[in-house]
């Protein structure tokens, strides 16, 4: 199996950029949603993506982890939204018309993350995906599932469970020290 997360989700992706639809697991093909943060381009398995939304106003939660930007109302459900720039320790940038909230389902939980732009839905062969070079997989970078080598650029494939395991997005409220 490819290194991307195979968190099968029944909900179909609403990404409008991809003309083709269908299973991503066909043979050695990977179907990915790609998005950009700064200069870099990242990708996640299309099956883990529930939907992609335009930016909306977030409600900040006092004392939540720093990378948690806030919560949003997703059709009656309240879900946390992570700023991926903060998660990757990239410098903060202003939101633009292109900014999107990608809503994914990770290990049974629905989480949104903010990206600078969503590029396309891409079908690539798993053969062109290589494991991440040891140099970049530091203690805090094991969420990189692999690197896809395209003709003119590199695509960083993300392992979503690992990505969000590190953010401490766990269930349960802290107890009050009385």
């Amino acid at each position: 199996m490819p290194q991307t997360t195979s968190n099968a989700s029944q909900t179909h992706a609403t990404a409008r950029t991809g003309p083709e639809s269908g299973a991503s697991q066909g043979g050695d093909q990977l179907q990915l949603v790609t998005f950009g943060l700064g200069e870099e381009e990242f990708a996640v398995d299309i099956l883990s993506v529930q939907e992609i939304n335009r930016m909306m106003s977030l409600t900040r939660v006092p004392q939540s982890p720093p990378e948690v930007e806030g919560v949003i109302n997703l059709r009656g459900k309240i879900i946390p939204v992570v700023d991926l720039r903060k998660r990757f320790n990239l410098p903060a940038s202003d939101r633009s018309e292109q900014s999107r909230i990608v809503v994914v389902e990770v290990t049974g939980r629905v989480i949104g993350f903010i990206v600078d732009r969503v590029s396309e839905v891409l079908r690539i062969s798993s053969k062109i995906v290589e494991p991440a070079p040891a140099m970049v997989t530091g203690a805090d970078s094991d969420f990189v599932a692999g690197v896809g080598r395209l003709e003119d650029r590199l695509l960083i494939l993300l392992d979503l469970p690992k990505l969000f395991a590190k953010t401490g997005l766990t269930v349960g409220a802290p107890a009050l020290a009385a």
Partner: protein
């Protein structure tokens, strides 16, 4: 025996008999204090009898055994053989406990525990003490229901199991109109074990019915006594279980007298006596392990006619009893199948229900009232409530849109008005719907309170105290989830009151109080809240000891304690790990007490408060919202965010003039009428201890001008906010998956504009403000 019957039947049995069991607990304790209450005694007897009947239907022999023993004892008590005393009550309660344990076994799909032989023997002995019955109780006393009736024989030739042959079963009496032959009794192995119980039962029933039928014919007799109907019905059910359809038909004919006119004609009473004689003949045939094949159509037809006279006008569609009873048992062939089918086809469903109706309605015949309730799976109600929650959100959004429309210019006046009206109507309908759905989830607190008489009785005996429990307002209804969450805290508080609150009789006497201690458990509605108080007239809280313990446990310094009011000192018992009990008893005092109680109550968005007067007693008052899903909230703006504050905690909102605000020891306070109110900035309080939350490029706004006065118990503070948005009914949504958040945030909700607002927890907010000075 280990393979259980239809799980659905078993579930029904557990539910219905479970309710009866709880009622039994209550009634038995009541009976102990009023042993001469015949109605109560009858109720207890009937409940046990019903449980036994259903259990024998399901072939739960071990359960039947203990129930039978208890029933025997109770029957003797009913006949005045003995007056139920403490020892008898201990035995009877022991039997109820045994049955409860067996229920657990059923739930866990285990083999049922065998009842304690000594218990059964002692109960049977009680029953035998008098002239109740020659043979009956003896059987039960000897414990083992192994009576090997007739060897089970080949099942091929004779009576098919009565459970699944409704049409045949209903039609059978007709062709058997022959003199009175007998044939050997054949029983399945499971039933053979129970056959002795049937015999005893049948004899008891007939002995009880006999005199009643005799009295029917007497001058001045009015109507048919209810016990007769009940006995006849119970008998019909038990014999039916053994496939004795003829006998069942006879018994049912008697039961049908329920609908007879108040004045009975001689023909009817004669017929009744005839049926009784026929039943007796059947019973003696049974003792000889023979089945009497006979029918008594002349009698039953007369009875049926009498019953039908009065009955025609009484039949109601919603009356489940009407269907099985209307064609009085062995109806002339042909007419029967339709009417009789329910009784045969779905005996388990129909019978416990009918039995329950009979036992619940006591002396009044259940016929007229009808069955107006249905059981609904909780999951469906939850789904409904969730949907209504969504609807409320949409309604709120609609309201916001309407207001927007009102201020926009591109709309005609007409459209605007229509829209406003429609929106208003939607508002009302939604509110009504919300209320209606919430009502379906309401249950009386009695469900909880009913358990406490037994609890208190047992505790009193264990602790050597004399305790009177007074329960008021048990009919107060609250949401189902609240009832579930309230169980443990209340038990804890009751135990506390019994163990720590009330003194021993000697000490009470020395203090000049009556030896009997009193605990008053009172529930009442207060607007959208219900308040439950537990008041004891014991020694009250020992403040000196609380202070000493607080210092010992390092919770407070003596200086801090010195500044505390008495009430604040009392509240220390809610702190984690605090317990003043000197020795750990198995009643209470493990030191995990009151803080857990407080946490549970606060989880329900409720408050808990204490009132204590040394030497006079202690009162714990709990206030909880009627429902936990929807909250009345005050929406306030803090910088660019809108928070929801539970309205119940908001006493008022003021706009302090600069002259009213002072600084005392680095804390800002304001003088509000005659009190001093600490003021805390909401943003600083919520952000405290957490990572700095940048204000998204906006300059920090001017100082918050409004003080929302929050009150929790006796503690108050003014929360400084920037804007007042208004009041809204909000649906509480869980706020999970964040990892970490301010402890003062209890949940989230969706506003009428679609945005998300966090709900603050006033009590924690106040605690947070008190913990460390404002920075």
């Amino acid at each position: 025996m280990s393979s259980f019957a239809d799980p659905e039947l078993m579930q029904d049995f557990l539910t219905e008999s479970g309710e009866l069991l709880e009622q039994l607990d209550q009634d038995l304790v009541l009976l102990e204090s009023t042993p001469n209450e015949p109605e109560l005694l009858n109720r207890v007897f009937r409940a046990l009898h019903t449980i036994k009947g259903s259990a024998s239907f399901l072939a739960l022999a071990n359960l039947v055994e203990v129930a039978h023993a208890a029933e025997t004892a109770l029957n003797a008590a009913r006949n005045g053989v003995f007056v139920p005393d403490r020892r008898a009550m201990d035995l009877l309660l022991g039997a109820v406990d045994t049955i409860k344990r067996q229920f657990e076994d059923i739930r866990a799909e285990r083999e049922l525990a065998r009842p304690d032989a000594a218990l059964c023997a002692a109960l049977s002995e009680l029953g035998e003490a008098g002239p109740a019955h020659e043979s009956g109780p003896g059987h039960a006393g000897s414990g083992a229901p192994q009576a090997p009736a007739q060897s089970a024989g080949s099942p091929s030739d004779q009576p098919p199991a009565p459970i699944d042959d409704s049409p045949a079963h209903a039609a059978r009496p007709a062709p058997l109109a022959e003199p009175a032959p007998e044939r050997p009794l054949e029983l399945g192995s499971g039933k053979a074990e129970l056959f002795d119980f049937l015999l005893t039962d049948a004899r008891q029933a007939l002995d009880a019915i006999g005199p009643m039928i005799d009295s029917l014919g007497r001058a001045g007799a009015v109507g048919v006594p209810t016990p007769l109907i009940e006995q006849a019905e119970a008998l019909a059910k038990s014999v039916e279980f053994f496939g004795l359809t003829d006998m069942a038909a006879l018994a049912r004919a008697l039961a049908a007298l329920e609908h007879a006119p108040r004045r009975l004609t001689a023909a009817v009473t004669d017929a009744a006596a005839g049926v009784l004689g026929e039943l007796r003949a059947h019973a003696s045939a049974l003792s000889a392990r023979r089945v009497r094949l006979a029918k008594a159509e002349p009698y039953t037809a007369a009875l049926a006619a009498a019953a039908a006279d009065a009955h025609d006008s009484l039949i109601r569609l919603d009356d489940p009893k009407a269907a099985p009873q209307e064609p009085p048992a062995p109806a002339p062939a042909g007419a029967a199948p339709a009417g009789a089918a329910p009784a045969g086809a779905a005996p388990a469903a129909a019978e416990p229900e009918a039995a329950k109706a009979a036992s619940a309605s006591g002396p009044t015949p259940a016929g007229g009232s009808g069955d107006q309730t249905i059981r609904v799976e909780v999951g469906r109600l939850e789904a409904l409530l969730n949907l209504v929650g969504e609807l409320v959100l949409q309604k709120n959004r609609m309201g916001a849109l309407t207001r927007q429309l009102g201020s926009s210019s591109g709309v005609t006046q007409d459209l605007r008005e229509t829209f406003t009206q429609t929106s208003g109507a939607l508002d009302r309908v939604t509110s009504d719907l919300q209320l209606a759905v919430m009502k379906t989830r309401m249950q009386p607190l009695e469900k909880l309170f009913g358990k406490y008489p037994r609890l208190v009785r047992d505790l009193a005996r264990k602790l050597g105290k004399d305790i009177r429990l007074v329960i008021e307002g048990a009919q107060t209804e609250v949401d189902k989830s609240v009832i579930e969450e309230l169980g443990d805290p209340l038990v804890h508080l009751m135990r506390n009151a019994c163990d720590h609150g009330l003194e021993s009789p000697e000490r009470r006497a020395a203090a000049g109080k009556p030896a009997q201690g009193t605990i008053v458990l009172r529930a009442q509605h207060e607007s959208s809240y219900v308040s439950i108080s537990i008041a004891d007239d014991g020694r009250g809280l020992d403040r000196d000891r609380i202070r000493a313990k607080a210092i010992e446990k390092g919770l407070y310094t003596p200086e801090q304690l010195g500044q505390m009011s008495d009430q604040d000192v009392d509240r220390i018992i809610f702190a984690a790990g605090f317990s003043t009990a000197e020795k750990i008893s198995d009643v209470s005092g493990r030191g995990v007490g009151m803080d857990v109680v407080r946490a549970n109550i606060e989880q329900l968005k409720g408050t808990i408060d204490l009132g204590s007067a040394p030497g006079k007693g202690c009162t714990v008052t709990i206030r909880i919202p009627l429902t936990v899903a929807i909250l009345s909230a005050m929406m306030v703006g803090v910088r660019d965010q809108i928070y929801a504050i539970p309205l119940a905690a908001v006493t008022e909102i003021v706009r302090p003039e600069p002259a009213q605000v002072q600084t005392i020891r680095q804390r800002r306070v304001m003088r509000l009428r005659d009190t001093v109110l600490p003021l805390v900035d909401a943003h600083a309080l919520l952000a405290r201890g957490g990572a700095a939350q940048p204000d998204q490029g906006r300059a920090a706004p001017a100082e918050a001008p409004f003080a929302v006065v929050l009150q929790h118990g006796s503690r108050r503070m003014g929360l400084m906010v920037h804007r007042l948005v208004g009041q809204q009914e909000v649906v509480i949504k869980p706020l999970d998956g964040l990892g970490r958040r301010s402890p003062a945030i209890s949940g989230a909700t969706i506003r009428d504009d679609g945005g998300v607002s966090l709900i603050v927890d006033p009590s924690r907010l106040i605690s947070l403000a008190e913990v460390s000075p404002q920075d």
